[in-house]
């Protein structure tokens, strides 16, 4: 507790100090240090130091809590597990921020940014730490408010206002639902279903479960890159933290209910997220949809775990809980990295539209490599962190298919196929993103004129890659710890008499160890092939001459001839047209010497199209209809009141 107090005080004080100093012209302009990434002003340095130190001070706690595993307490382990991504991503996005918010922003705005950034970090820490409902709710609301301020940072664009508004509404709705949940929690015996639904919706709004994900693709593109990273890698996970920490009331929330709702939400979310990621044209929007997919997969893991407990299959449960836990960490690191890298891209050419970027690999080689590696890992390809998580879930589903009854086999089959299809489509999405931004030729003047970025921005990406490599090597250990902790919670998570043997954590560890060895073999093999290719073939030592790309005899190849990101996915978009409902905007060439032509393909969000817009239309119509009651005739009002009274009378006497 004292650790947390220290970290909180550090964060809050540095935030306040930064704001106060920024108000004063002279102190705000005080340059303390001049690094390769630009000058570091006094308030910024203070806030940055506060954030990094505050977060770092909690790291030992996390490490010990996870290391202790089953011998420690469940809530402590859970807290540490969800704190870990916040610490990593928080520190790295704090380090990324000064370079991202360079001299283009006024001192006061920078001060405000850091004020809200540190306060958001502080509230996130509080959310994971506190155990009193009131404080939790306050912290949760504060987290929403401060992050809202950060999303609104670029408030001058009108579109950004709309996005921030949607985010604000989502936060408030989530807060209201959670308040309802905490009210019902005291009387959960009488309304278990209401309690569960309000909790699931409230936390689901934060975690981006399907249909509730509406704010993710809106808020992420407009927020500054470090904030998007923090939102996507740190904050949305907290929805699952809430579910695991607050929604599990033994005996009241039944396992099958929890399992079915999470599994079905998860599968829908994963599919919807990845489907809608395909046609996206804004890099950060695409990443946001990919977050929806990953959150869906995590929900699948948790839901399948609870269902397996219900089916008395402890082995499946432990596999899928371990999968969900590893997925949270892996996703946080790689998604945080990709968001920061999208910040690099934006910094370099002030453009995030995939159809206008291209060829940045030559200008930002480090960022390009990091982006490719993280993108491959996020597609679930081996040997990446997400692959380690997915294979555990695959094995769990496979055991369900192989040995279960009809119901178990059907659900497992659905999960199995969802995983496979999401994997294949995620590979498409990320190859689109990586290739459209970094490969090929620049597609617009902005991309052609991209300039170099501060070195620190690049180093953040490498730090992420290093961290994920460490976590990859630790994943067998982490998986076994996760399984042990979940296995040990028979009083809290499930009835005592359910599980009979716990030999399974060893299996997780063994499987992942084998995989690690195998990945090492792959890398060594690749290196050997590379050496043979470079050293031992005739002509291989000679520098290969450079020519134009083969263009089928076309005399003057231009960058406009190459495939854009939209063109790359166009066949898939049309294949899923009934779901995605693509809209075409065509300006056909006219005449023999056409001057202008354009083709644009865009898709609106699925949840918005299918649920929110109809709901809004309905509400508007209802409002217009009820407006008729307000006719201005006093008689009518009195009549309504009398009718209401009568109805109450009848209700009161009839019951």
């Amino acid at each position: 507790m004292s650790l947390l107090l220290f970290a909180l005080l550090l964060l809050v004080f540095s935030a306040l100090l930064c704001l106060l100093l920024s108000l004063n012209e002279r102190s705000a302009g005080l340059v303390l240090a001049d690094f390769s990434f630009g000058s570091l002003h006094l308030p910024v340095l203070l806030a940055l130091g506060g954030a990094v130190l505050g977060l770092l001070s909690l790291l030992p706690f996390c490490v010990t809590a996870i290391y202790r595993g089953a011998s420690g307490s469940y809530s402590e382990f859970l807290r540490a597990w969800f704190l870990l991504p916040i610490i990593f991503v928080g520190i790295l996005s704090a380090l990324h921020s000064p370079a991202y918010l360079d001299a283009g922003y006024s001192c006061l705005r920078r001060g405000l940014y850091w004020f809200f950034f540190n306060l958001m970090l502080a509230t996130m820490l509080l959310v994971t730490w506190v155990s009193q409902p009131i404080v939790f709710l306050l912290a949760w609301e504060g987290m929403g408010l401060f992050s809202f301020a950060l999303v609104l940072f670029e408030y001058r664009h009108k579109d950004n206002l709309r996005a921030a508004w949607i985010y604000f509404l989502a936060c408030q709705a989530g807060g209201a639902l959670l308040m309802l949940m905490f009210l019902l929690r005291t009387q959960a015996e009488s309304y278990p279903l209401f309690f569960f639904i309000s909790g699931l919706l409230g936390f689901g709004l934060k975690a981006g479960l399907p249909v509730l994900h509406i704010w993710l693709p809106e808020a992420h593109p407009v927020a500054p890159a470090p904030v998007s990273a923090l939102l996507s890698a740190g904050m949305i996970n907290l929805g699952f933290y809430g579910i695991l920490r607050w929604l599990l009331l033994p005996g009241l929330v039944s396992l099958p209910l929890l399992g079915y709702s999470l599994l079905i939400c998860g599968m829908l979310g994963a599919l919807l997220g990845i489907f809608f990621a395909i046609p996206q044209k804004n890099l950060k929007r695409l990443l946001a949809y990919s977050s929806v997919e990953n959150m869906g997969l995590i929900a699948c893991g948790l839901g399948y775990g609870f269902l397996s407990l219900h089916w008395q299959r402890a082995d499946l449960a432990l596999l899928s809980f371990a999968a969900a836990g590893l997925h949270i960490l892996g996703h946080a690191l790689h998604k945080g990295n990709l968001f920061l890298l999208s910040g690099n891209v934006y910094k370099s050419c002030h453009e995030l539209s995939l159809d206008r970027l291209g060829g940045l690999q030559k200008r930002l080689p480090g960022s390009g490599c990091a982006f490719m590696l993280s993108a491959l890992a996020l597609s679930g390809l081996p040997p990446g962190n997400i692959f380690m998580a997915e294979i555990l879930l695959y094995v769990a589903a496979a055991r369900g298919i192989a040995s279960g009854s009809l119901l178990i086999a059907t659900l497992s089959l659905a999960l199995f196929l969802t995983l496979a299809f999401c994997g294949a489509l995620a590979a498409t999405v990320f190859s689109k993103a990586g290739a459209a931004v970094f490969l090929g030729e620049p597609r617009s003047p902005a991309a052609r004129k991209s300039h170099a970025i501060p070195a620190l921005m690049k180093h953040c990406a490498f730090a992420f890659l290093g961290l994920s490599l460490i976590l990859l090597c630790l994943s067998p250990f982490l998986a076994s710890r996760l399984a042990q902790v979940f296995a040990g919670q028979s009083g809290l998570l499930w009835p005592d008499d359910l599980l009979d043997n716990f030999c399974m954590p060893a299996f997780n560890e063994h499987l992942l160890n084998t995989l690690l060895g195998f990945s090492l073999f792959f890398v060594v093999l690749l290196f050997m092939l590379f050496c043979i290719r470079r050293r031992h073939l005739p002509y291989s030592r000679r520098e290969a001459p450079r020519r134009f790309t083969w263009d089928c005899g076309f005399a003057q190849p231009t960058a406009r001839m190459q495939y854009t990101g939209s063109a790359f996915v166009q066949p898939l978009v049309y294949l899923f047209a009934p779901l995605l409902r693509p809209m075409r905007n065509i300006l056909a060439p006219k005449g023999l010497f056409p001057k202008k032509a354009s083709y644009e393909l865009s898709c609106r969000d699925g949840g918005e199209q299918l649920f929110w817009r109809p709901l809004m239309n309905f509400t508007v119509r209802l409002a217009i209809f009820s407006h008729r009651l307000q006719s201005g005739h006093l008689h009518l009002y009195v009549l309504l009141m009398i009718l209401g009274l009568l109805a109450l009378f009848i209700w009161g006497f009839a019951l």
Binding site: L376, I401, T428, A435, A544, Q562
Partner: protein, 306 residues
């Protein structure tokens, strides 16, 4: 002893795989009434290519030269899990199926990235089609895996593929037959064979795989050809291992039958290629979606009927 047989199967696969496209080319030639190229032609081609230098486009980055190596390394890693010659792989573990197919996917994604790296519109076209078809094929593949999983109860490549002993054929033979057909269709799609893609075409607009590798030359192209041949061999192996009952054969007889089965399937491939024309690209997804359909019918039969 059995490990030795398996190892022989592995080495033979590595050595003989270019023979498979050679055989297909030869047979196709015979079917259409000309002598056709020699069966050894792929070997000659690869050796020739390996001895050449390479030229890269100005647009390209490190992705282009790296992609063939990653593809080959991924295939070499993945093939360690196959039960060559009906002997369980000594490296098998539960879940290696996923590793197998994800390594294949890794190779494919790198190939697509390399194609987009060139900035060529043809390569982009090929890459786009490849991603579309392969994501549908992946769905079909995992349906087939789920069927085999339910049938055998084991989730390793060796377990799945050696499941079909003779008793299985008698009590769920029809479903297995269905799945074998589905897998053969996938084999055609994944290896860019005729109804889906024409490996011998000369028009860039109609190509998938060949369009993606337009910018390669020299040793890189040789490696790509070898990797394609190896992939074809792996897929025919899976097909034959799936069909042929495992308990019947052991030892060197199994090895012989294994190798012969690949060539038989190669013959079948040549027959299909000789008598059919390439689909319109718009039809391909429809056809590919039939594969999960078939596999799911088989799963339904297995789940609800036995």
């Amino acid at each position: 002893m059995s490990t030795f047989i398996w190892f022989c199967g592995l080495v033979l696969s590595l050595l003989l795989c270019p023979l498979l496209p050679g055989l297909v080319g030869k047979l196709k030639g015979i079917f259409v009434g000309c002598p056709g190229p020699s069966v050894w032609q792929p070997y000659y081609d690869m050796l020739k290519l390996l001895r050449k230098g390479s030229v890269y486009s100005q647009t390209t980055t490190w992705v282009l030269p790296l992609a063939p190596l990653v593809t080959l390394a991924a295939l070499l890693c993945a093939m360690l899990f196959l039960p060559f010659a009906f002997v369980d792989s000594p490296l098998a573990f539960e879940g290696d199926v996923i590793v197998f197919f994800y390594f294949l996917a890794l190779g494919r994604v790198l190939g697509v990235l390399a194609a987009l790296d060139t900035g060529s519109s043809f390569a982009g076209m090929g890459a786009s089609r490849e991603m579309q078809f392969s994501s549908l094929a992946e769905l079909g593949m995992f349906c087939i895996l789920a069927f085999l999983l339910r049938l055998s109860g084991r989730f390793s490549m060796s377990g799945l593929l050696n499941a079909a002993d003779s008793s299985m054929w008698s009590y769920s033979g029809t479903a297995l037959f269905l799945v074998a057909i589905a897998f053969f269709i996938l084999l055609l799609a994944e290896n860019c064979r005729v109804p889906f893609d024409d490996p011998d075409t000369h028009l860039e607009l109609t190509m998938i795989h060949e369009a993606m590798v337009l910018d390669y030359g020299g040793p890189d192209l040789g490696i790509i050809h070898y990797a394609a041949a190896l992939k074809l061999w792996l897929f025919t192996s899976i097909c034959s291992l799936m069909i042929v009952p495992a308990g019947l054969l052991s030892g060197f007889g199994g090895l012989l039958v294994f190798v012969l089965a690949q060539f038989l399937l190669g013959g079948l491939l040549a027959l299909v290629e000789a008598v059919s024309a390439r689909f319109r690209f718009l039809k391909v997804p429809q056809f590919l979606l039939g594969v999960p359909g078939l596999a799911i019918i088989a799963i339904i039969m297995l789940l609800l009927f036995k």
